[in-house]
Amino acid sequence: MKKNRQPALKYYSAVTRALSEEMRRDENVILIGEDVGPSGGIFAQTKGLHAEFGPSRVRDTPIAEAGFTSLAVGAAMTGLRPIVEVGFEDFLTACMDPIVNQGAKLRYMLGGQVRVPVTLYTFGSGGLSAGPQHSQSLAAWFAHVPGVKVIQPSSARDALGLLKSSVRDDNFVICLLCKSLIGSKELAPSATEDFLIPIGQAEVKKSGSDVTIIALGAMVKRALAAADILKTDGIDAEVIDPRTISPLDMTTILKSVSKTNTLIVVHEAMSPCGIGAEIVARVCETSPSVLRSAPVRITPPFAPSPFAPNLEADYLPSVEKIVMKAKLMLEDRR
């Protein structure tokens, strides 16, 4: 890798870059949300956009997630391509109707007369001691809803490539960013590259033959760290990041599971009716005899996300837990 030639890209700047590139490309793209304007956002994620694109296309909103998300849907139906920021994923509870009953369904209800190209991004997941109302992972709710797509970038490059694709997508796309990755860095695609990652494609982040670990969002890095440790024990783990949560790329997942005959899913969201449940169910339905040991979901206990750092550390899936579960699974098999 040309480590010295390419500048590093931070997760939050990947958001800025994606937004600005898409806004430059298409003047129908606008940005609305709380403090996306002159202040540049609480994580500096929209820095410079108001200056470059002006107050008509970059709009600070009042605190009205339901109102402005529905407004974005109305704008999308009439020719704009709004990008909506909702500060924290937990606040999606305030705009479920515009997403689920409007954004997801208007094309269907209106007989295909309209498209609803909205990209809604938000910062979710835990790891920053943000407490029970600022740390949730709600992807499963939206994977349960036809008409929306859901993406979750686990790195700066993924954030860049997936967000750009979602702005070009003609559907309501929800992008669930991970707060704990905000400062994480990666080699950036060159400034002139129109870097896109197609929606709906999982990525094998590390290939391996012994155990399949599907990890989401910030858990991808932990799964990779676990894979490193497992290697020292002679276990060759494959780590897959679905990247798109809805629709799920089951092809990539099934291919891996067929190879390793095992399945571990790791996510920060609650276990019941989560993405892990869906992946396990899909694997068992379509390839009932492929698993040679019981599938495992590694998730927090069924409780709200606690505030204190030691509590949150214990609550979230850890590298150690992943290592332990993987070893246990392979031992069982022997």
Binding site: L71, Q102, R107, K149
Partner: protein
């Protein structure tokens, strides 16, 4: 807002025909519903025709409206085709929603009708979105949101008005106060006499008009549209009107009080307008009969069109979920 008629004769005849289209569409729909031709449930706006027609005919063709569960009149008045509307009510493939939406989801985007909507209150922010498009693209369009007094108590309506005020969006909030929301009266939903007062808490203008008087509605919306043309931002119009039928067709209306049961108290907006046409606008009976006849023909056609269609193919179930 002056009370003087701005109506030209041509527009008045157009209004007259539309009033009858709306009236007849709903009378026929009620009939078909009772006979079992229309599934699900439907909400009629009989008695409120002057609101839909007066408001939509004061808009420009390029303007947008968003509507509610009680949207037949709004959609027709803004130009939706009664044939495809009735086909939708009947659940047919030829309907605006391919039979997948029904009465609560009629839309004709080519006519600026962005959809009836089954979620109370959502018409307001959705209209703001269309107004935002007009503002960003500088198209000169406006958007009008129909909603009821019941919806006025909902968060999204407040959020929409607040944003519209701050962003000076070209949007008209048109509140049809038909004295009920579902099965409960105005007083359960609104703590003040005049909802139009709410506009002051956002710093824009609000007016109350007689929603049975199509001229009054037309004039109020015309003035509001004028204000928007000159960049003046939102306007709230409250139209006091009457819902003649139940909340949904078939509603036994046990909850009505005697005063409200007494239909002799009510003004018929169509009759009122016909009187005004004759007296003030010099439109003669023959002309009035002609436009009414036109309406009858259109609605008859719509009904036979809809009833003549076969069931929607099940393949539409999975169409248009994603673009």
């Amino acid at each position: 807002m002056s009370g003087s008629a701005k109506l030209c004769k041509h527009k008045a005849i157009e209004i007259h025909q539309k009033l009858w289209e709306v009236r007849l569409f709903e009378l026929r729909a009620a009939e078909l519903y009772r006979e079992g031709h229309l599934p699900g449930f439907i909400h009629l706006s009989l008695g409120q025709e002057a609101c839909a027609v007066g408001a939509c005919l004061a808009l420009e063709e390029k303007d947008f409206i968003t509507s509610t569960h009680r949207g037949h009149g709004h959609c027709l008045a803004k130009g939706a085709d009664p044939r495809f509307m009735m086909a939708e009510l009947a659940g047919k493939h030829e309907g605006y929603s391919k039979g997948r939406g029904g009465s609560m989801h009629i839309a004709d985007v080519s006519k600026g009708v962005l959809g009836a909507n089954g979620i109370v209150g959502q018409s307001a922010p959705l209209a703001c979105g269309a107004a935002l498009t007009a503002q960003v693209k500088n198209t000169g369009q406006a958007a009008l949101a129909f909603f009821g007094e019941g919806a006025s108590g909902s968060g999204p309506v407040h959020e929409a008005m607040n944003i519209a005020a701050i962003w000076k969006l070209p949007v008209i909030f048109f509140c049809e106060v038909n004295r009920y929301a579902e099965l409960s009266p105005y007083s359960v939903h609104v703590p003040i006499e005049r909802l139009s007062e709410r506009s002051k808490s956002y710093g824009f203008d609000g007016f109350t008009v007689d929603g049975s008087n199509v001229k009054a509605v037309y004039n109020a919306v015309s003035s509001a549209r004028q204000k928007i043309r000159s960049g003046g931002g939102p306007v709230l119009i409250e139209a006091k009107t009457h819902r003649w039928h139940g909340h949904y067709e078939g509603d036994p209306m046990h909850y009505l009080d005697d005063k409200d049961r007494d239909s002799s108290q009510r003004m018929d907006p169509v009759v009122m307008f016909e009187a005004a046409c004759a007296l003030e606008l010099g439109i003669n009976t023959e002309e009035l009969s002609k436009s009414k006849e036109n309406a009858i023909t259109l609605i008859d056609d719509a009904v036979s069109f809809a009833l003549g269609l076969g069931a929607a193919p099940t393949s539409v179930i999975s169409e248009d979920v994603y673009a």
